[in-house]
């Protein structure tokens, strides 16, 4: 019954009604190579990035899955978080998702002022200029699964006030 695709080049279908572990890897991560599924059947997906096609593919796999499934997302934070937000839209709750983010890599900062998303390579705790409104944003590890990004707040809010 196991249909875990061993050549994870595409997101080709897993069996309809799948209730095992869907392991999604982005870019070059090998974090899930030895991922322990606790004896549950495993289905692998690998994408270069969270492109619209990759997301559509993930959506279709989730659409064929059933409650009981678990999703593990690994790779650069921006890709993992984009995928997590799509999985949440598909009805997955926190308990059903595991996020394994690369230590480095682009992150998405969600501007608390104009709601524009800005992608940056800067590490957590540093500043980035919002692409929407130009505000200098500081972002901490406050990640919102709903918007699929880290929340950024004006770095100079206190001085302005």
């Amino acid at each position: 019954m196991r249909t875990a695709s061993q050549s994870p080049a595409t997101g080709a279908g897993c069996e309809p009604g799948f209730r095992g572990v869907i392991c999604v890897s982005f870019a070059t991560t090998d974090a899930l190579q030895d991922h322990d599924t606790g004896g549950m059947p495993r289905h692998d997906l690998r994408f270069a990035a969270a492109t619209p096609e990759a997301i559509a593919n993930l959506r279709s796999v989730l659409g064929h899955s059933r409650v009981g499934v678990r999703v593990v997302l690994a790779g650069p934070p921006a890709d993992v978080h984009a995928a997590a937000s799509v999985a949440a839209e598909c009805g997955l709750v926190d308990e059903e998702m595991t996020l394994v983010c690369d230590e480095v890599g682009p992150r998405v900062i969600f501007c608390g002022h104009c709601h524009t998303s800005t992608t940056t390579d800067h590490p957590i705790g540093t500043n980035v200029d919002c692409q929407g409104c130009g505000t200098t944003l500081i972002f901490t590890d406050h990640f919102s699964r709903r918007v699929g990004g880290y929340l950024g707040f004006s770095a100079h809010a206190e001085e302005a006030a």
Binding site: G17, R19, G63, R66, V67, G68, V69, V93, E95
Partner: protein
């Protein structure tokens, strides 16, 4: 102890109780009767969330009953009551009601609400557990939400069967015995689309078994909802210690003795009325520890806050609780 109970008897049941009139009484089955309450002028009553219950006062006691309507702009509140011959008397009092009788009822309270984000509602009911679930089914039908129901009842003893069939059509699976239910349950627990929420109501053992099987099949806790019957026998619970911060004493609450009883034995006066977790009179403030909420009064949100508990029925999850008393 009786002194406290008597002293509280004269007080209104809850803030803002409603006085309503019995507008209809109809037998559902040999032992289940539906009773409808309305205002004297047929006016609009407060709306409620599906799965809500009403506290109805009778004589010296009070009982909670699930409302069976959808809750949107109601002019009537309907409940269905199973007659329990050797119960505390609430169900017999309800069965004795006649059209035109006046009753005091609470505002509807919600503790079994449908999840707004659910992609599908899987409803599971056994026996009289159909009542809150019927409310969900009506609501889903009214708003075009996706819902299905597994209803376990013995032939000829099921309440609201015709309505369930009409509301759910092919989405209704009726099970007349245990083994057919088990088969249906296993199939349904393994074939639900993502985002399905499960709601179960029935005898405690039934609910425990459904919830356990769902957990074993990988259902996350946040998708599972259950509604205990009012007056269902609660187990004795584990013993725990309670520290009273202001009186600076620590008391032992043994298994089988309520926190309320323990506080009273220690000489404290705690307001109370129903002593079964439905009226809200016996609320005590929690400073530390995690209560094991077993009441029907607090909303889910209030229960999660863990800052207040109903000491007549609720206990402690951990070994110790600290109260602001």
């Amino acid at each position: 102890m009786t002194g406290t109970a008597l002293q509280n008897k004269a007080k209104p049941l809850l803030d803002g109780t409603l006085q309503l009139e019995v507008t209809s009484v109809s037998a559902q089955t040999d032992s289940i009767t539906s009773i409808t309450f309305g205002g004297a002028l047929g006016e609009l009553l407060p709306s409620y969330v599906p799965g809500s219950h009403l506290v109805v006062q009778y004589g010296t006691g009070a009982n909670a009953y699930s409302l069976t309507g959808s809750g949107s702009a109601p002019t009537e509140y309907s409940i269905s009551v199973l007659r329990i011959e050797n119960g505390a008397g609430g169900s017999l009092a309800m069965h004795a009601l006649c059209v035109g009788d006046l009753v005091q009822v609470s505002h509807p309270r919600s503790a079994f609400a449908p999840a707004a984000t659910a992609s599908h509602h899987l409803l599971i009911a056994a026996g009289i557990g159909i009542t809150p679930v019927l409310s969900h089914a009506r609501y889903a039908a009214e708003w075009g939400a996706s819902a299905s129901l597994i209803y376990v009842h013995r032939p000829g003893t099921g309440a609201h069967v015709a309505e369930a069939r009409q509301l759910l059509g092919p989405g209704l699976t009726e099970c007349l015995d245990r083994s057919s239910f088990q088969e249906v349950l296993t199939r349904q627990l393994t074939t639900q689309q993502l985002g399905t929420h499960l709601y179960v109501c029935g005898p405690n053992a039934f609910m425990d078994s459904v919830l356990k099987q769902a957990r074993d099949l990988g259902w996350p806790k946040s998708l599972l909802h259950s509604e205990a019957f009012s007056g269902a026998a609660l187990d004795d619970g584990e013993p725990f210690e309670v520290r009273l911060a202001r009186s600076k004493v620590t008391l032992n609450v043994p298994a089988g003795v309520s926190l309320l009883g323990t506080l009273e034995n220690a000489g404290l006066t705690v307001p109370n009325m129903c002593r079964k977790g439905i009226c809200g009179e016996c609320a005590v403030p929690v400073l530390r520890g995690e209560p094991l909420h077993r009441d029907l009064y607090l909303t889910d949100q209030e229960k999660d806050d863990n800052t207040t508990m109903m000491c007549c029925v609720s206990r402690s999850l951990g070994q110790e609780l600290e109260l602001d008393l």
